[in-house]
């Protein structure tokens, strides 16, 4: 059979567009409505997506309370409880949640994800993050955000312990720099061998950790060249760890806006962009750049010179690169990033979007895509009913699930 792309449905409350909650076709109460999420998961499952994916932060996403109050992102479900509920309301689709290596212990995290895996019959995955936000750090002690390198050092040890615990009886305890664990897990072995390991960090140490441990890598890449360079680099690092290139599925984020005509799709997108307040856009951009005083600079001027951040190194570089390349002002950049959160954004017809996805997939820049609908449920429905059938018609995406577990959907080896 020809190689087929993998698709994730990245669920996020009212939608990925920062102003999604203000859109009349978004479910404004999504953050307190479990039925909203059950419906989204069922839509994604009916469209044969490999997985639903939930992002996470253990704290507010925006320190400025006035700005936070103009977005829908200060409240929502905690993702492990959310996915545990979805696990028994779906039967085939994978369930992947983000969880932090900085604010958990490996025994507890391994046990919780294994329980989700048991509830779902082998459909769980863990997206490892080290948590770059000082807002989160303040909920877990008074010492502040740890440096990037220290977080990744801890993450490496954390991932090793979790993987060891998931491998069952062979676990002989661990006594390391950051963690000590005496016993194997008290739950039966995973129905898929072990939950799927996902990562998103794109810095140099992040890539090495992914090359060593990840089954799936989410990434943000705007252009084909960036996506291809990342893809080739990550796959080339894997041999060092004795792994085959196909052992990792690289799934860049894509923020599509789809309609019957291209003009309609652009109109739909512009409608959303107009709902973004300038101060919200600038605040979001500040977050990506890991600086707090971007609002001091003239909004129609260029980005100021910035020190290298201890937060999200890779994301910062991406923003700076784009601002220089396209000569964008702070306002333009803010709108641009607010609209897609640094991910690849395409507006068009189903045929146009399928063309773009096909080009990256067949051009060796992606094994699949993590789809980030602008607002829910409308834009997930649109992708499911317009784009997915087009991909299926081209033989690029499955018409039925072939397997039962997330590992089987993704074509990943079962760990021994």
């Amino acid at each position: 059979m020809t190689r087929q792309m993998k698709l994730g449905a990245f669920l996020w409350a009212t939608g990925h567009h920062i102003a999604a909650w203000r859109h009349p076709k978004a479910d404004v109460t999504a953050g307190i409505d479990i039925d909203h999420y059950i419906q989204l998961a069922r839509t994604a499952e009916a469209a044969k997506f490999d997985m639903v994916f939930c992002e996470d932060a253990a704290g507010l996403r925006e320190a400025n309370v006035a700005i936070a109050s103009q977005t829908s992102r200060s409240i929502g479900f905690e993702p492990i409880s959310l996915l545990s509920a979805l696990a028994v309301q779906t039967s085939r689709i994978g369930l992947v949640s983000t969880a932090s290596t900085s604010y958990n212990e490996p025994y507890g995290l391994a046990r919780t994800f294994l329980s989700l895996d048991q509830l779902s019959g082998g459909r769980a995955g863990w997206n490892l993050v080290t948590s770059a936000s000082p807002i989160e750090a303040a909920n877990f002690g008074s010492t502040g955000l740890k440096p990037h390198a220290d977080r990744y050092e801890r993450a490496r040890e954390f991932a090793k312990v979790v993987t060891g615990l998931w491998h069952g009886e062979s676990f002989r305890g661990h006594d390391g720099q950051s963690f000590s664990v005496r016993d194997p897990l008290d739950l039966p072995r995973s129905p898929q061998g072990a939950p799927v390991m996902v990562q998103a960090g794109a810095s140099d140490v992040g890539r090495d950790l992914a090359a060593r441990t990840a089954d799936v890598v989410f990434t943000a890449a705007q252009t084909f060249e960036e996506a291809k360079a990342f893809y080739d680099d990550l796959k080339s690092r894997m041999a060092t760890y004795g792994r085959e290139p196909d052992d990792i599925k690289i799934m860049p984020g894509v923020a599509p806006v789809v309609a019957e005509t291209e003009a309609e799709a652009r109109e739909k997108f512009e409608e959303l962009q107009e709902l973004i307040p300038d101060d919200v856009g600038v605040a979001l951009l500040s977050g990506y750049l890991s600086i707090s005083d971007l609002w001091r600079y003239p909004i129609d001027g260029p980005l100021p010179e910035l020190p290298e951040s201890e937060g999200m190194k890779s994301r910062q570089a991406l923003v700076i690169e784009q601002s220089r390349r396209d000569g964008l002002s702070i306002r333009q950049l803010a709108r641009h990033f607010a609209g897609a959160r640094g991910h690849w954004r395409i507006a068009g017809t189903a045929v146009q979007i399928a063309d773009e996805l096909q080009a990256r997939f067949e051009g060796g820049a992606a094994d699949g895509f993590n789809v980030m609908p602008a607002y829910f449920p409308g834009e997930l429905d649109a992708f499911a009913t317009l784009v997915v059938p087009e991909l299926q018609r081209r033989g690029l995406f499955r018409k039925e699930y072939e397997g039962a577990t997330l590992r089987e959907h993704l074509g990943l080896k079962r760990p021994g």
Binding site: H23, P24, V65, S69, I75, E78, S115, L119
Partner: protein, 325 residues
């Protein structure tokens, strides 16, 4: 009287319970009108277990399969950071539309700390002070958003009212937590706090913080003295004595069914407790006998309500909201 049923999912006769067994059990308990199910969690007890599930994930799943019954998960203060635990339960409370509770045990599980990078555990005194601080943080975080904080006002662009979101700014001996929680207030205000594994030194903490306490079974006269003493402590904290429900554990066995209704009535009428936590044995079929034979008798005697009157766990238990709004 109030009736909880408690299930140690790890016990089940050496044979793992499937999710559908557990969903069937939850629906049976709901059809019988019981106030809540308390799910033990196996990790604290031993490394050998036959349970495939961790309790909070199981409660999330059961919440979607039931509509009325309260769902209480045991979760350890060693296994979770307070911010994460507060979030998990606040989220469970929204998933269940106001039926979630946290069972915090005040007894330190000997093996557990060694799996959480604390090979030496905590001294009894440290563990108690740490637990008290922990509970205070969790309850504080649960009150971080006022009930009317969410505006959903698309036209003005005001999603929530920033004045109605409150930082915790806790700095204590063991923890430092800024808050607020990133989960909204629940339909029952805050999850129900159940405390178990209490010793004498924990009673004042329970009197200040708990909504429900679970106590082990003692001879009737002793139960009454203990109950009276506890309610005095609750009053001394400036709370209504009725603000904390005292449930006595009853271990259910096949032999204990006959005459059980009478025993429960006697103890309840003596004011030895506000209700019971029926602990099920590995042989779950005994629960059928309890529902078929004991429950109708309690109802006939006017000791247990015929049906649910409200939709939240707090309403089942006759509890007010979880704190200042």
């Amino acid at each position: 009287m109030y009736l909880a049923v408690s299930l140690d999912i790890a016990l089940a006769n050496g044979q793992a319970l499937t999710f559908s067994d557990l969903a069937g059990f939850a629906r049976q308990a709901e059809a019988a009108g019981l106030d809540m199910i308390v799910l033990d969690d196996s990790a604290p007890h031993s490394a050998a277990s036959s349970s495939p599930f961790e309790a909070t994930t199981l409660v999330a799943a059961l919440a979607t399969m039931t509509e009325k019954i309260g769902l209480v998960a045991t979760a350890s203060t060693v296994a979770h950071q307070p911010y994460n635990l507060a979030r998990r339960f606040a989220s469970l409370d929204i998933i269940s539309h106001g039926r979630a509770g946290w069972n915090a045990t005040m007894a330190q599980a000997p093996r557990e700390a060694a799996n959480f990078s604390r090979p030496d555990g905590f001294s009894a005194e440290d563990f108690r002070r740490r637990s008290e601080e922990y509970i205070g943080i969790v309850q504080g975080l649960w009150q971080g958003w006022d009930a009317d904080a969410l505006l959903f006002d698309r036209d003005s662009g005001r999603f929530h009212d920033p004045e109605k979101m409150h930082l915790l700014d806790h700095k204590g001996e063991f923890f430092s937590v800024r808050g607020p929680l990133n989960v909204a207030r629940s339909p029952q205000d805050t999850p129900v706090l159940v405390l178990s594994g209490l010793t004498e030194g924990d009673l004042d903490i329970a009197a200040r913080t708990a909504d429900v306490i679970l106590l082990d079974e003692r001879p009737a006269a002793e139960n009454k003295a203990r109950h009276d003493d506890f309610k005095r402590r609750v009053s001394a904290c400036g709370r209504e004595p009725d603000a904390v429900k005292v449930l006595t554990d009853i271990s259910l066995t096949a032999d204990s069914i006959s005459g059980l209704a009478g025993r429960l009535e006697e103890e309840f009428r003596l004011r030895g407790c506000d209700g019971f936590n029926i602990r099920l044995p590995a042989q779950l079929s005994v629960f059928d006998d309890f529902i078929d034979r004991v429950l109708p008798e309690l109802r006939r005697r006017g000791l247990f309500r015929e049906r649910y009157r409200g939709t939240t766990l707090r309403s089942h238990l006759g509890l007010a909201g979880g704190g200042e709004q």
